[in-house]
Subunit: 452 residues, 2 copies
């Protein structure tokens, strides 16, 4: 649906279709990596998606993977997948700098649980992708592949930009407000934010209670596979069930009923974005899917009301939970924190434990109300962002359509199916807690059906 | 109730009673610290409670506190409290070695959230106390103050031993199975394990889902105050309400009804321990408190049945949740992990995510059944351990009476009110999730009433 001349500029690197050729000996992980490296050579100087690349190590890993495929013994379906790691997730052989000058050159000398899992599955870790400061709001210069004047979104800025530009097959992101869904929307790739807790975050500088590790990918199948391979090896966060579902991407499943949620974002959406959403809904209806709305269904109306305040609640929860370590960073060198981050700390330090308890209660209440929708429909659809990526690199854009599902802790997928101003815009499909496989199955149907 | 000649060997250092004298200018934090240092000089060579002491820094901190008290401006009720930090909790100015040779000399260069809070409250951080390897099972040589042939219990071995021997007023511990309640019982001090999540663990090498930070202290009032001062400044774990309650220890409150829980430990308890418990129950009855038992109350019987399997469920949960970082430690240098720890990892790596999900469901079911008791009684009582500290330093003893309340995530207090073989044994008082203040109020009544 995007202007062909733009789409042609990038050669996306879907992985599983390539791996099918590995098995048939028509392609190799080494060749796939070389194609990624060619894209990096071409686009990275302008886009700035990486903070660190380790090409020699990646070439070695790809060669070992090539040998395994030749021997008919790949470690997993993602053996040989070129993947990037958001730079708040630790890697033993690369720095982890968290988008903060406080961590310039910092090396933890260990792999995060998710990275241990990816290596065990044979993935080729090509580099660390740019994150905003501590995966929050302060951008770090990455440009949108579709228009370098525009933000790629954040906080998983580099992950989305690199995947969209064909420099990687997939990349890990995280999301606590809109950090996977928004950049996926802006960059025109797939974003998958699983249920909260579904992918083990130990070893990631990410301990906020509604945050989770997500995946940016060219295809939904690739996104699922990465999440699955992490979950099956590393599990979820302590205290949470891991992502569960089939060992290959769930088969597309046509939903009978979908709820269209305006969320807090609708009023900010552009006319083009709204029209794109309405057109998509019309296509779904034409395919025989019943669309529930706030006007037609009381539980949808209740959910809309409940999630309307998602942004301030999420923001305050994150602020309180960020006090440590921001307070020790401030005391160490306040000049190395952005003004945005210092402001966050000031807000946090004005809060009391009882304020936070009330926010947790409010979050639980919103989650209960949304969960009621599970008896009404097979999932929800909405925009992934109110507009195409805005011009300017000073902000990562508006997360108004993503934040509700972060607060809810439910699975969300952004499909690069819409456009605004000739630029990518995501169609967001969301589901219910721990219903990751069902959500992906619905998203697969909507994405594929809509593409035909 | 302990043999006076033994009790007399130590001069416990209750803090709040000393602080009352600070306010009256009859005592100072410097003097209190000096008395702790005298005890350290006398007992530490034999007991081995500390892995690191920073006496010059503590003296400076005590002097600053002394000045604040003189000026009538203490930072908090615990300004000047000599406190030890279990060595899995990070401290900016001391090593954090986690009872593991993998972390010999390791310095994180940052304070954990709880340590930030303690410093802000004016507490005097005197040193790091011995922990078993990664706060699990492998002991690290600390001896029981009452009998150096015996274990002090674990994993908060040094914290309990140091407090019991009067080397510290209080110390931080943690508990995921029995690591606060058991050493408190063995060493004859107060142990307070709050509701899971009640005290912020960020910056502690402790990310297991049913673990929590606890306090070892000479008095229950001191234990409450430490927990309160942490909670009010640092909050709880992300996603959990912080410990809540009054700014000074809750007033003693006579319970109307208590449930006596045998737990999985009763069959292992010595005759002396059982007799001590029965005598205590008789005293409570004589004071007019109704005692519910598995024989007299169906919900108590249901709770007993539910918690009977607490040990294997807790162990497996901990194993799964420990895979990372144990797997990276093993790959780095397996010789620096104990056989116990390597065995734990082997068990963990034989598990699948679905096994863990079932364990979480079982834990939730047990929690729901226990929570039903809240309508029946004001709390539960049982032993803190099946016997006095066993002879030998190769094991930290039997946590059979503590583990259920770790699985349940409920507040638990060990009071040094019983004895076995002439050695300390704890009376355990437990409550309901987030009911920390109510539990402490009941424990205060039982402890004080029983002492009269």
């Amino acid at each position: 649906m995007l202007a062909p001349e733009r789409k042609g500029a990038f050669l996306p690197k879907p992985y599983l279709s390539a791996a099918a050729q590995f098995a048939a000996s028509n392609d190799t992980p080494r060749d796939l990596l070389e194609r990624c490296l060619a894209a990096i050579a071409e686009f990275e100087p302008q886009i700035g998606a990486f903070v660190h690349l380790d090409i020699p190590a990646a070439l070695q890993a790809a060669d070992r993977s090539t040998e395994r495929w030749r021997a008919g013994r790949p470690l997993s379906p993602i053996d040989g997948m070129p993947i990037g790691i958001k730079d708040i997730i630790e890697t033993a052989d690369m720095p982890t700098q968290m988008g903060s000058p406080l961590f310039d050159g910092y090396r933890s000398e260990r792999d995060a649980a998710s990275v241990v899992a990816l290596r065990a599955a044979g993935a080729v870790i090509l580099g660390k992708t740019v994150t905003t400061e501590f995966a929050a709001s302060e951008p770090r210069g990455t440009r949108n592949p579709w228009d370098p004047r525009r933000t790629p979104g954040g906080s998983s800025s580099g992950s989305a930009a690199a995947v969209a530009a064909g420099m990687l097959s997939t990349a890990l992101g995280t999301q606590v407000i809109g950090s996977t869904i928004r950049p996926a929307s802006y960059c025109g790739c797939v974003g998958f934010k699983p249920s909260v807790g579904a992918l083990n975050r130990l070893g990631s500088h990410d301990y906020l209670s509604q945050s989770c590790t997500g995946v940016l990918a060219t295809t939904l199948e690739d996104a699922w596979q990465v999440a699955y391979e992490i979950a099956v090896r590393a599990g979820g966060d302590p205290g949470y069930p891991a992502l569960s579902g089939p060992a290959q991407a769930p088969a597309a499943k046509k939903p009978q009923r979908l709820a269209f949620l305006e969320t807090g974002g609708w009023s900010a959406a552009t006319a083009d974005a709204k029209q794109g959403m309405q057109d998509a809904l019309a296509r779904f209806k034409a395919a025989g899917i019943e669309i529930l709305t706030r006007g037609s269904n009381a539980k949808v109306a209740a959910a809309e009301t409940a999630i309307a305040g998602a942004w301030p609640v999420s923001t305050k929860i994150n602020e309180w939970e960020s006090r440590w370590p921001l307070n020790i960073y401030r005391d160490r060198d306040a000049n190395k924190l952005s003004k945005r981050m210092l402001d966050r700390l000031v807000h946090a330090e004005a809060m009391r434990p009882a304020d936070y308890s009330l926010l947790l209660e409010e979050r639980e209440m919103v989650r209960r109300i949304y969960a009621e929708l599970a008896s009404e429909c097979d999932g929800c659809v909405t925009l992934s962002a109110p507009a195409a990526a805005p011009i300017g690199l000073h902000s990562t854009g508006d997360a108004a359509f993503a934040v509700a599902f972060s607060l809810l802790g439910v699975p969300a997928v952004s499909l690069p199916r819409l456009q605004d101003d000739g630029l990518p815009l995501g169609l967001q499909v969301t589901g219910f807690a721990q219903g990751d496989a069902a959500t992906v199955a619905v998203a697969a149907w909507l994405g594929h059906a809509d593409a035909q």
